[in-house]
C-alpha cells in the first residue's frame, strides 16, 4: 500500500478516470488559445460593420468577404489566381532557393569558392531586390520571367546566408572525428556537414518563405495579368474592397500554410534535436 492510497486520493483518482472516460474528441484548450485573438477581432469587426460604424467603402464586413470568397470560387477566378500565384511562389523558391543553397554549401566548404563569390553576394544582398522592378519590367516585360526573377532573387539571399553560416558553424570537433574515423569528403558531407547545417538551413527557408510572398505580391500588383496580386489590384480600380480584403486573407492563409509545411518538415528532419523532442 502506498503512502498516497487514502480514500480521498482514491475518489479523486476515480473522478479523474471518469472524466477522461467521457471526454469528447474536441481539440484541447491549449490548442485553441492561439486562435482566440483572431476570432475576437473578426467578431468585433463584423459587429462594427453591421452597426454601421465602418463604411463598406473603406472596409467590407467579414460576411462580405466570405460572400466574395464564395462568388469568386464559383466563378473559378479565385482558384485559378491562387494556383497561378502559388505556382510562381514555388518556382521562385525552387530556383532561388537551390542557387542560394548550392552557393551556401560551396562557400561554406571551399575557401576558394568563398573568396571568389562571397563579397559579391554580400554586396548584391544589400540592394533591395524590389528596387529592381523598373529594370526587370524593361528586361522581361510583365511576363512570368519577371516574377520568377524577382522571387528567386529575394529568396536566394536568406537561403544562401543561413546555409553558409550553418556549414561554417558545424562543430569542428565532429568534422575532426569524421576525418579520423576515415570518412571521405562525400561521406563527411552527407553524415556530418549537411545534417549539422540543417537547423540553420531551415531558419533560412522560413525567412525565404516570408520574402517569397512579399516579392510576389508586390510584383503581381505592378506587373501581372493574373494571380492574387493582380486580382487585388484590379479590384481596387473598381472599388471592390471585399475582393481586396479577400486577397489579404488568402495571402495570410497561404503564408501560414507554407510555414506549417516548413515546420512539419523541420520536426521530421530535426527529430534528433532535443528542441523538437517531446
Amino acid at each position: 500500500m502506498s503512502t498516497f492510497d487514502t480514500p480521498f486520493v482514491r475518489s479523486v483518482a476515480a473522478e479523474e478516470a471518469a472524466k477522461t472516460g467521457f471526454r469528447l474528441p474536441l481539440p484541447r484548450r491549449e490548442k485553441l488559445i492561439p486562435y482566440l485573438v483572431p476570432m475576437a477581432i473578426v467578431a468585433f469587426w463584423q459587429l462594427a460593420s453591421s452597426a454601421g460604424l465602418i463604411s463598406s467603402r473603406i472596409m467590407p464586413s467579414p460576411a462580405d468577404v466570405a460572400l466574395a470568397f464564395w462568388s469568386t470560387t464559383v466563378s473559378g477566378q479565385l482558384p485559378n489566381d491562387v494556383l497561378v500565384s502559388a505556382g510562381r511562389a514555388f518556382a521562385g523558391l525552387l530556383v532561388g532557393g537551390s542557387i542560394g543553397f548550392l552557393l551556401g554549401i560551396a562557400n561554406g566548404v571551399s575557401r576558394i569558392s568563398e573568396q571568389l563569390t562571397d563579397t559579391t553576394l554580400q554586396m548584391l544582398r544589400t540592394i533591395p531586390h524590389l528596387a529592381m522592378i523598373p529594370l526587370v519590367i524593361l528586361w522581361f516585360g510583365i511576363g512570368e520571367e519577371s516574377k520568377l526573377f524577382l522571387t528567386s532573387l529575394g529568396v536566394l539571399f536568406p537561403v544562401y546566408l543561413n546555409t553558409y553560416h550553418g556549414v561554417r558553424n558545424v562543430d569542428r570537433d565532429l568534422i575532426e572525428m569524421g576525418r579520423v574515423y576515415g570518412m571521405g569528403n562525400w561521406t563527411l558531407f552527407r553524415k556530418v556537414i549537411f545534417p549539422g547545417a540543417l537547423p540553420s538551413i531551415f531558419v533560412g527557408l522560413r525567412y525565404a518563405l516570408g520574402i517569397m510572398w512579399l516579392t510576389l505580391i508586390v510584383s503581381e500588383s505592378i506587373a501581372a495579368s493574373s494571380g492574387i496580386g493582380h486580382m487585388a489590384n484590379n479590384a481596387r480600380e473598381f472599388m471592390m474592397t471585399d475582393i481586396v480584403v479577400l486577397a489579404l486573407v488568402i495571402y495570410a492563409v497561404l503564408g501560414k500554410l507554407a510555414d506549417v509545411i516548413a515546420r512539419v518538415l523541420e520536426q521530421r528532419l530535426l527529430a534528433w534535436n532535443p528542441v523538437y523532442q517531446k
Binding site: 579520423v180 574515423y181 576515415g182 553524415k191 545534417p195 549539422g196 534528433w272 534535436n273 523532442q277
Partner: protein
C-alpha cells in the same frame, strides 16, 4: 608445431591468461608504436622536445603530466591528427615489419553525431563499404559489450554523459582496432561513472588485446589501468615507470598507492616543490 597444435596451444595459453587475470598477450592486429626524436612546435612554443618511446604491441601505456606538458599533442601525432616538425613515427606488426594498423581514438568529449541513432553512431566506426545489415549486427554486438544494447535506437541526446562516452568507446571498438588512443576520455565524468568506465576499458583491453595509449591527468587512473606510465614534463619524458601488478586491479591496492605517490612526486617535484 603444426598449425593445429599451435592454435590449440594459443587457446590453452589464452585460457591460462584469463584464469590468472594478468595482462593479455597482444591481440591480432595489435601494433607496436615507435617514436624517435619527435619534435613539435606551435609557433615559438616547443611542445615536444625529442620524444623517444617504444610501445610494444598490446601494451597499455598511460601518459600523464601537467596541462600543457604536450601529452595530448603526442597522442594527436600518433593518431595522425597533427604532423610532427621532426622525428619519426612508426607502427610495427608482430614481426617488426612496418604496418599501418587500424587505429581508433576516443576523445574527451563523446563527439557523437546527434542526428544519428546510437547504433548508427557506432556504425560510423566501421567506415564505408560495409553492407548495412552486417554493420548493424556488429554495432549491436559491441553495444551490448558496453552494456548499452537496449539503447541502440535512441538519439544520443537522450543518454547520460557516461552512456554517451560508452557509445564513443563502442564506436572505437567496433572495427576491432589494433591501436586505441584515449584522450582523457573520462575527464568529464563523475567519480563513480569514471570507476565503472575504467573497469570497462580494462575489460575490453584484456579481451581484445589492442595497444592502448591513454592520456590522462588522473594519476590514480593511470596506475589503475596501465602497464606502464610515462610522465611528460615540458615536452620531454621525465619518468618511465612500469606498473607490475596483474589485472584487474583493486582500488586501494597498497602497491599501486605507493607507485601513485612516486608519480605524483615526479610530476609536482619538477615544479620546484611547494
Amino acid at each position: 608445431m603444426t598449425v593445429n597444435t599451435r592454435e590449440r596451444f594459443h587457446a590453452v595459453a589464452e585460457e591460462l591468461v584469463y584464469e590468472r587475470d594478468t595482462a593479455p598477450t597482444a591481440g591480432a592486429g595489435a601494433a607496436a608504436i615507435s617514436l624517435t626524436g619527435l619534435e613539435k612546435s606551435f609557433g615559438a612554443n616547443r611542445v615536444l622536445r625529442g620524444i623517444n618511446l617504444h610501445i610494444p604491441a598490446g601494451q597499455f601505456v598511460a601518459v600523464i603530466g601537467k596541462s600543457g606538458c604536450g601529452k595530448s599533442t603526442l597522442l594527436r601525432i600518433v593518431m595522425g591528427l597533427d604532423e610532427p616538425n621532426a622525428g619519426d613515427l612508426r607502427f610495427e606488426d608482430a614481426d617488426g615489419v612496418e604496418a599501418s594498423p587500424n587505429a581508433r581514438i576516443v576523445f574527451q568529449e563523446p563527439r557523437l553525431l546527434p542526428w544519428l541513432s546510437v547504433a548508427d553512431n557506432v556504425v560510423v566506426g566501421l567506415g564505408d563499404g560495409i553492407d548495412r545489415r552486417s554493420a548493424m549486427k556488429a554495432a549491436e554486438a559491441v553495444l551490448s559489450e558496453v552494456q548499452l544494447g537496449e539503447k541502440a535506437g535512441e538519439w544520443p541526446a537522450r543518454l547520460s554523459g557516461g552512456q554517451r562516452q560508452r557509445v564513443a568507446l563502442a564506436r572505437a571498438l567496433v572495427s576491432r582496432p589494433g591501436v586505441l588512443a584515449l584522450d582523457e576520455p573520462l575527464g568529464a565524468l563523475d567519480a563513480l561513472t569514471r570507476i565503472s568506465m575504467q573497469e570497462l576499458i580494462n575489460r575490453v583491453w584484456r579481451e581484445l588485446g589492442f595497444t592502448a595509449v591513454l592520456v590522462t591527468h588522473d594519476v590514480s587512473e593511470a596506475v589503475h589501468l596501465a602497464d606502464r606510465v610515462i610522465v611528460l614534463d615540458e615536452g620531454r619524458i621525465a619518468l618511465d615507470l612500469s606498473i607490475p601488478y596483474p589485472h584487474p586491479r583493486r582500488h586501494g591496492h597498497p602497491g599501486l598507492a605507493e607507485l601513485e605517490g612516486r608519480l605524483l612526486a615526479a610530476i609536482l617535484g619538477t615544479d620546484g616543490g611547494h
